[in-house]
Structures are given as C-alpha cells and as structure tokens.
C-alpha cells in the first residue's frame, strides 16, 4: 500500500507535470530547431513569437466567449488557436520579408542573423506589452480537472491523490497529434522532403531545383504554428504573462541543443530531458521517502536537491554537461 502511495505521489507531482512541461518545451524547441535547420541561426525572438501567438489566441478566446461559443468541458482557446496561428504566420512572414530576407541575400554571418533576431525580439516584446500589457491574463475555461485528487482517492482508496488537469491532458494529446503530423509532413510529403534536403545540403538542394524561398516560407509557417501552439498550451497550463515567455527561452534553447540542434527528434527528446530533470531536481522527496522507508528512518529535511528558484540552473547544468561530453547533442545535430 505504501508503495502504491509513493508511486501515486511521484505520478502526481513529478511525472504528470514533467510530461506536460516536456511537451511544451518540445514544441518550443521544435520551432527553434526548424529555423536553425533551414535558416541556420538561433532565433532569439522565438519566446516572443510564442507570446505573440498566445496573445492573439487570448483575444480570439475572449471574442468567442463574448459570442457565447464554447467547447463545453474543453477550453475555448482550442478553437481560438487557428486565429492565433494565422496571425503569427503573417507576423513571421512579414518579419522575414522585411528583416531576414535582406541578410539572406547578403549571405550575412549567422551571428548577424542572431543580432537581427534580438532586434525583432525587442520589437515583438514592445508590441505585446503595448497591446495586452505586462500583466497576468487567465483565459482558461471549461472543466478544470479530468480527475481530481479527491475522486482518485475515493476511486482507489489510496491516501495519496492523483490530480489530472484538463490543460495537462490537452497539452499531451495536442502535442502527440502535432508531432505526428509534423513528422508525417517532413518524411512523407514532397515539400517536407525538400525541406530536409535543403537543411542537409543547401547547394545540392538548389541544384536539384528546390525553390529556397518556398522552403524558407514553409519553415516560417511551421515555426509560427508550433510557437503559437506551444505558447497557448503553456499559457493555458500556467498563466499568460509576457515576461515568462522571455524566460522560457533558456530551457527551450537548452532542449534544442541537448537533443542536437537542427534535429527534430532531438528537440523532442531534449524537451523531455530538460523538463523531467528540472522537475525531478526541484522536487521535495520527503514524503516519498517517508512512504518507503521504515518508521525510524524518517527524514527531517525536505529532501529537496535544489529550490524551485534554481530551475534555470538545472537546464543550464545539463546544457554544460552536454556541451562538454557531446557537443553535437544526443541525436547528433548539426555540429560545431
């Protein structure tokens, strides 16, 4: 019984949050990695792109709520998301046309692209704060829980509850669908294949008649969609605050690099590695140990490796270890 309680505890506080957070990071890292694979620079504006997509989705959600449209137990944001994706695609394509295309034609150094993306980041940042303000926005509606802790307790008779929030369930399902669709697109369709060819060897791809403008455009569309979905899921699960989207940039980059930057599979793996280690290292194991250990061994501390304020340190340490041991990342992305 104690053993089951301990497992439930871990599931409730470690596995489910880790899985959800991992999905959100994986979607974010996929966007970063796609831009890296096609345009060959680290896009610092990605966090703000996520925030922008979420912001538009929030406005669309509010609009739908005013009209009385709802999805019943599911959050309205799910049907508002296409609007957010559309606007973010427009924003990304306009930014590419106005900013990045010039540098691409000039064949600028990747670092120049990176600095340009910092400029774009400033711009988006101001735009978002200008429109929606810097404060918290909550836009979750519908049923809050798929299963509450109390329901679980009465169902199983265990002392520990297992709460499963609707937003967590949605995050996991949506991520699975999106990732499957993305891989189908990259591996099966003509456009997807041409993108992979372009990422592998630009010159060879150009020689075979692949249109680079089209590849870049599709890359931006995919990135914008991924960013909006990742941002909205993150916003639904936690809450929308523009500043957090700047902060989430570090774990996202860490996930992309840990998995191997430029490799989509790596981005997903990296996202889960970062998320689970963040949650596992900042988890207080006291109760877990108290279930498993005999009476006399009860710990008196919290048994927490690091306080949650240091969660950045976790993604950073993993990043450093990977850079030291295997600079190309787990899945051998583009090397140095």
């Amino acid at each position: 019984m104690n053993f089951l309680n301990a497992i439930t505890l871990i599931g409730n506080y470690l596995f489910i949050p880790g899985l959800t957070y991992g999905c959100q990071l994986a979607l974010g890292a996929l966007g970063v990695t796609l831009i890296y694979a096609i345009l060959r620079y680290s896009n610092f504006a990605h966090g703000e792109t996520m925030a922008f997509g979420t912001m538009v989705t929030i406005f669309a959600t509010w609009g739908l709520q005013k009209l009385g449209v709802s999805l019943g137990p599911l959050p309205t944001a799910l049907i508002a998301m296409p609007v957010g994706i559309l606007m973010t695609v427009v924003l990304c394509l306009v930014s590419d046309r106005v900013v990045y295309r010039y540098h691409r034609k000039q064949r600028s150094d990747p670092v120049i692209f990176l600095i340009a993306s910092i400029g774009v980041m400033f711009l988006y940042n101001g735009l978002i704060r200008f429109v929606i303000g810097p404060d918290d926005q909550i836009f979750t509606d519908g049923e809050r829980f798929i299963i509450t802790a109390r329901e679980f307790k009465t169902l199983t008779g265990l002392k520990e509850g297992l709460a499963f929030k609707t937003t967590q369930g949605i995050t996991i399902v949506v991520t699975a669908v999106i990732v499957a669709a993305l891989f189908w697109f990259l591996n099966k369709t003509r456009t997807g294949k041409s993108m992979r060819a372009y990422s592998d060897n630009e010159d060879l791809a150009l020689l075979s008649g692949i249109n680079p403008d089209r590849v870049v455009m599709v890359a931006w569309i995919l990135t914008a969609a991924l960013a909006t979905i990742a941002g909205t899921l993150y916003g639904l699960d936690k809450s929308f605050k523009p500043f957090t989207y700047l902060q989430i940039l570090l774990p996202i980059f860490a996930a992309a690099i840990v998995g191997g930057i430029g490799s989509p599979v790596g981005a997903i793996a990296g996202g889960f590695v970062i998320a689970f280690s963040e949650v596992a290292v900042t988890f207080a194991y006291r109760k877990f140990v108290s279930y498993l250990a005999p009476e006399s061994w009860q710990p008196d501390g919290l048994l927490q490796l690091l306080s949650t304020d240091y969660k950045f340190a976790v993604s950073f340490s993993i990043l450093v270890i990977v850079l030291l041991v295997r600079p190309t990342g787990i899945f051998r992305g583009r090397s140095i």
Binding site: V111, G119, G126, F130, A254, F312, S315, F316, L319
Partner: protein, 435 residues
C-alpha cells in the same frame, strides 16, 4: 567626412541633447541621464571588447553587471558580527567541502580515462553535494535568523565603496573564466546561450541567497563616495554660493553631488578608453583583428585562438563588472529584482551595434545615444500618444489604453533602431577605422 570630424560632430550632437534636456526639463535630470550614460558607455565598451575585437557573442551582460553590483554590497556594507558568529564557520566548512569536491572532480576528469572517469565523477559529485548541503543549510538558517528585519545577512567588509569597482571587475572576470572555459571553442551561438544561462542563474542566486545580499529584501543605504546633499545644504559656503548665483540650495546641492559622480565615472571611462585604444593599436590588437576576421588563417599562423578568445572574454566581462559596481554605487542600493535582460543585456547590445562595433569611440557614443533615447522615449512617446489621440474623447478607453501603454514604445523603438542600423549602416555611427 573624416573620422575625427565625424566623431566631433556626433559627440557635439550628444552634448546639445544634454543641454536641451537641461534647459527644457531640468538640469538635475540632465545630469542624472549623463551619469547613467557614462555607466552605459563603460558597459558597452566591455561588450565592444568582446564583440568588436573578437566577435564573441555575450548575451549575459546582465549577470556580469549584477556581480559587479554584488561586489558593491560586499565591499561597502558593515559586517554583521552576530551573523558571522552564528553561521560563519558552517558556511566556511560548506565552501571548503565544495572546493574539495570540485577539485576531486577536476582531478578525475583530467587524470582518468574517458570511460573510467564517469562513475567516480558522479559519485564524488553526489557525495560532495550532500556533504555541502549538510553544512550549508543549518549555517544559512542560523545567519538568516539574526535580526531578519534589518540584516539577516553576513554583511560586507565595511570598506570604501570605490574599492568595489575593482572587486566587481574581478568577480565578473572569475565568472567569465568559468563560462569561457566551457563554451569557448564551440560554435558562437553556444557561447550566447551559455552566457544567457549563467546570467539567469546569477540573478536567481542574488534573489534567493538571503544570507549574502538579503535577496529580494534588497540592500539600501550603501555608503557613498561623494558627500550627501544634506551636508552640502548645511554648509555656510554653499548656502552663500547659492545666494550669489541665484539658485535654490536644494538644486545646487543635487547638481553638485551628481557632478561629483559624473567626474568619478568620467575618470574611469577615460582610463578604460585610453587602455582600450592602446590595446587596439598594439600588436595584440592586430592579432585580435586577425583572429576575428579569419580564425583559420590566424590559427595557421600559430595563434592560440581559443586562448585569446578566453582572454578577451574575461577582459570584456571585467569591464562590465566594473560598470555594474559603479551602477550600484550611483543608486546607493542593490535590488536584484531590477536586473532585467532587456535593459541590462539586449539594450547594451543595441548600444554597441548602433555606435559602431570594433570602434571604442563608437561604443561609447552608442552608450550615450541609446541611453539618452531610452530615457527620453517615454516622455516623447507619451507626448506623441497625446497628440495622436487628442481628437478622441477624454474618457475613450482606447485613448486611455494608448496613453497607459506609451512606456512600451521603448522596446519597439530600440528594436526598430537596431534593425535599421543592421540593414543600412551595419558598421554603426562611428565605423571601425581601417588600420
């Protein structure tokens, strides 16, 4: 237009800007902006050393500046003997354990083979971590329990705060050494992301380690290197001077204090500028340019590229640390929550790019111009919004929203400026001179 003429013209325009603010708004405000401009100029000089000389991408300026600020606190505040008595020895033991652990891990890493070393490193790391926490946790709670309302930390050394400028540079240099060792020699983006990470960690540490700097409870009332306004206002000499000049003693005292700060900061800036110019003209500067422009060729000529990069990264970070300590000195307080990446990292980058990377004068000009715009963008943005919305009714929610959001014009303006400069004058306002 020759470079010298361009330089004089640009700095002349900046001077006119300060005079305009002084006349139109107020002189103390103009001097406040000037002081922060001087500090920003030093920070951007530091970034220019890294980016302009060597092409290194440091996105952790905020962290190095905050370390400088930490030095300001640790050097200048009075020690708290009770806290030292309560937890000093425990803390010392904890750090000793940490040092031994790191030493042992390094020994394993360098002395054992690539596969054999993994297990011992993990074991040593875990054991060391728990031993460290065993000493660290009780010591910290003991320290933080000492008079938590006013101190709750160990305090500093009680030395003149000017000394912290040097110490801040050393702190930042030490952090830069650690980051550089790990991420230099890899692709340039990796350094960017590693520095981004270390800066976030430094800020998280400063916010949460209450025993060090009281965390988010802030440290205020740091001692000053210049006289206090109140003392000037009491002095017979200055009261008479104010009467003779026909200004109020309050204005005069505030202007004098700010001028004193400006003098100190300008002295530091000029010394650093002189050193930087000398460095760029020397064979060392020539080598740095060679490495920046063609790493492979420089390496083929026998230059140690990674070694030089590490050196220049440490130097630049030290300059940023100095500026960070100066900022804390000027503020008279240390507030970890005020360190925002947009303001302390990315804004400095805009300064360097706009001013002219690779040119020390350009970096300084960028520091002045961008900080000036950053401060003035808000009143100008507000005024602009007021004009645009003047046709609307006073109670219109759109007008209200636009006026309230005018402050967010700042990042938009900075983004636009950066993108325009990158596109149309990628070499900046004062381009690097061909030597």
């Amino acid at each position: 237009m020759s470079h010298t003429l361009r330089k004089i013209l640009m700095f002349g325009l900046v001077a006119i800007g300060f005079i305009a603010v002084g006349q139109l708004q107020s002189w103390p405000l103009s001097l406040t902006i000037l002081n922060l401009c001087l500090i920003s100029a030093i920070m951007s000089l530091g970034v220019n050393i890294q980016w302009g000389y060597a092409g290194l991408l440091n996105v952790g300026v905020m962290g190095f500046a905050a370390l400088g600020g930490l030095a300001g606190v640790l050097v200048s505040t009075q020690p708290v003997p009770a806290a030292w008595a309560a937890g000093g020895s425990g803390l010392g033991l904890a750090f000793l354990v940490a040092l031994v652990t790191i030493g042992a891990i390094c020994w394993c890493y360098f002395k054992l083979g690539p596969v054999v070393r993994t297990l011992p490193i993990i074991i040593i790391g875990l054991v060391g971590f728990f031993a460290y926490r065993y000493f660290f946790d009780p010591a910290v709670s003991a320290i933080e329990a000492v008079d938590p309302a006013t101190s709750g930390n160990l305090g500093g050394l009680g030395m003149p705060i000017i000394l912290s400028w040097l110490v801040g540079g050393l702190f930042a240099a030490a952090a830069a050494w650690a980051v550089g060792k790990v991420s230099l020699g890899l692709r340039s983006d990796y350094l960017a992301i590693a520095t981004l990470g270390i800066s976030e960690i430094i800020i998280a540490m400063l916010k949460n380690e209450d025993w060090l700097t009281r965390g988010v409870k802030n440290m205020s009332g740091l001692p000053r290197p210049v006289p206090y306004e109140v003392d000037i206002q009491k002095s017979e000499y200055f009261i008479k001077l104010a009467e003779d000049w026909g200004v109020s003693i309050i204005d005069l005292s505030s202007i004098l204090v700010k001028l004193a700060y400006a003098g100190l900061f300008a002295a530091v800036l000029l010394i650093l500028l002189w050193l930087c110019e000398r460095a760029l003209k020397s064979p060392w500067g020539r080598m740095m340019r060679a490495i920046r422009d063609n790493e492979t060729a420089a390496e083929a000529m026998g230059k140690n590229v990674t070694g030089r990069h590490l050196q220049v990264f440490i130097l630049g970070s030290a300059v940023i640390g100095i500026a960070g300590a100066m900022l804390t000195t000027l503020d008279g307080q240390f507030t970890p929550a005020s360190y925002q990446p947009l303001r302390f990292t990315f804004l400095i980058w805009v300064m360097v790019i706009v001013g002219g990377s690779g040119n020390n004068w350009g970096a300084i000009l960028g520091g002045f111009v961008i900080w000036f715009f950053w401060v003035e963008a808000e009143p100008v943005g507000l005024w602009l919004m007021d004009v645009i919305t003047s046709g609307m009714a006073d109670t219109s929610p759109l007008r209200e929203h636009l006026l309230k959001s005018a402050a967010h014009m700042r990042p938009i303006t900075m983004g636009v400026v950066l993108l325009l400069v990158l596109r149309f004058t990628p070499r900046g306002l004062l381009p690097e001179t061909k030597r």
